[in-house]
Amino acid sequence: MELLLDVVIILMTLSTLVVAARILLGPSLPDRVVAADGATTHVIALSVLVGMKLKSTTMFDVAIALSILSFLTAIVVGKYMEKGHIIDDIGNR
């Protein structure tokens, strides 16, 4: 059980690095955003796994906060890519 948890944490860390490489490699901006979204999902999974390893339940708050942050990132960057600005008429007045 503990051994499996260690192996899973190591594999997830490597997988996170593989996903994060796409942020650097991605040819277009949507590629990078998609990769960043996937990397955040991997980090949420890693935080839950570390919480299981440390036998502490505080890491689930981290997971919830990170999932909200990843959703917000997707929405904000998507709006920026579609419209060219994020907040309505900032700098126009």
Binding site: M1, S15, T41, L49, I64
Partner: protein, 143 residues
């Protein structure tokens, strides 16, 4: 028994996460990459969270409630984010990858044009509202 369930869910989760990581490099354009990150990756995360629910089954009920809240939240928000990202990619003219390098078919071109037209209409509508609001503001100042 509990240990076996936790192990199964952990293995499913890590396999799906690795598949998502490989898919992000194997697939060619943002639309197909969204399949890897949205569907497979979030399902892997959900199964890891389910494994942790069973791992902390002896804790209080509030703990598993928080984990299930995270599962619920991911289940709701990931499709919305995927929708917005793919739409933004279309508006930005990111090309669609075809396996044989052929051109887009007629109905696909129509869908892309519809999305672009909707985005333009929204932008024009917002600009019009903004101008009207500013005129109203100026009139209030003068009077």
């Amino acid at each position: 028994m509990i240990s076996a369930i936790v192990s199964i869910f952990l293995i499913i989760g890590v396999i799906l996460s690795i598949v998502a990581a490989v898919g992000l490099h194997r697939l060619k354009d943002p639309y197909t990459r969204l399949h890897a990150t949205s569907a497979i990756n979030s399902f892997g995360l959900i199964s890891i969270l389910v494994a942790s629910v069973f791992y902390f089954v002896e804790e209080s009920a509030v703990t598993s409630l928080r984990q299930l809240l995270a599962v619920f939240f991911i289940f709701i928000t990931v499709p919305a984010g995927t929708h917005i990202l793919s739409r933004a990619a279309i508006v930005r003219d990111v090309h669609v990858w075809k396996p044989d390098g052929s051109e887009l078919r007629q109905h696909e071109v129509e869908i892309i044009q519809t999305i672009k037209r909707q985005s333009e209409e929204r932008r024009a509508h917002r600009l019009r509202e903004e101008v009207q609001g500013r005129e109203g503001l100026d009139g209030a100042k003068r009077s």
